[in-house]
């Protein structure tokens, strides 16, 4: 009797083993698939970043690249509405700033307004700033910069700052060295 019982128990155990092993295998398999999916996702994100960088390098190669940035320093005397940019008398950018974007600039953010290509030589940039100036009136000012484009990327900054001495906003265009 004992032998029959023992044999039956062994058979039952042997039959259960594949099921247990199968369940463990399923869990392991799921874990492995999840890890693979995470690894794949990381690869896709890295590839996406590389493609973006490559696209910028192809469309705007360093030797002809020009980038124009906008920044704001304080902002008591001017509330920015929009900036229009002309290079060599041709309008290349026109950007409307929302309240949130203007806040971001006031908090130290820098906005890349324009990215383009220019051949080497002398060029002129004119920026028009529209907004609300003192005393709560519509305000439109321009700033001009003549610059030489050499081989290599050119970075220009349009900076809006408050002039306490003049109690008015100042608009400066300068080159990054």
């Amino acid at each position: 009797m004992n032998r029959i019982f023992t044999s039956a128990l062994l058979v039952a155990l042997l039959m259960a083993l594949p099921a247990i092993a199968g369940e463990n295998a399923a869990v392991e398999s799921f874990r492995s698939v999840d890890e693979d999916a995470q690894a794949l996702k990381k690869e896709v994100l890295a590839l996406n970043r590389d493609l973006f960088v490559l696209e910028e390098e192809l469309l705007f190669p360093a030797n002809t690249q020009i980038a124009v940035f906008v920044s704001m320093d304080v902002g008591e005397f001017f509330r920015l509405d929009s900036v229009t940019l002309k290079v060599d008398d041709k309008e290349v950018a026109n950007y409307l700033y929302t309240e949130r974007e203007a806040e971001a600039l006031l908090k130290g953010g820098v906005h890349r307004l324009y990215l383009g290509n220019l051949k080497t030589g002398d060029h002129e940039l004119v920026a028009f700033f529209t907004g609300e100036g003192p005393p709560a009136r519509d305000y439109r000012r321009g700033a001009t910069l003549s610059f030489a484009k050499n081989v290599g990327a050119k970075y220009l900054e349009l900076r809006i700052s408050d002039s306490e001495r003049r109690q008015q906003p100042e608009f400066i265009v300068e080159e990054w060295e």
């Binding site: 509405d81 929009s82 409307l96 929302t98 309240e99 949130r100």
Partner: protein, 181 residues
Amino acid sequence: MPDTHTTTVLPHAARKTSVRRRLALGLIIIAVACCIDEVRAQPSTAPDFALRSLERGNQRLSEYRGDVVVLSFWASWCGDCRRALPELNDLYARHRDAGLVMLGINLDRDAERAREFARVLELDFPVLMDADGVVSRLYAVEQVPRIVVIDRDGVMRHVHDSPDAAGSDVLVEEIVALLGN
């Protein structure tokens, strides 16, 4: 007189090849057509834009990502728009607390005309001026009123060109379904 008209007859193998080529070309054309239909049927991301509003500063569509947005293209010279806008205003009032954003995009060249129109109709939602038609072209607006419904992920889900859409149950159901997601 000898017959000068000659007819070229292709050998049997060449004819078979020619038929196969035409068949293959036909299949390719059908496959491409199906793909085009497939692409057209895919919902697409709503093109981003920024416009000046009559009262509330500049508005950028992408800043409303996370909300359900209804764009309503209209003009003061459009009779159907005069009927549709109050309906949309009611819809906005009922669902704004649930996260519905409504942006009226006006196509008039004269902002004062649009402002007066909005005042008379007592519109509560922002009215954005698209006098140059830049945004209208982005959204392929060929007639007004046009209503575009955008989900919380910035994807265009529904487009209505019917003048009766504004007050319809269909539009309400679409918006409620998206707000619930």
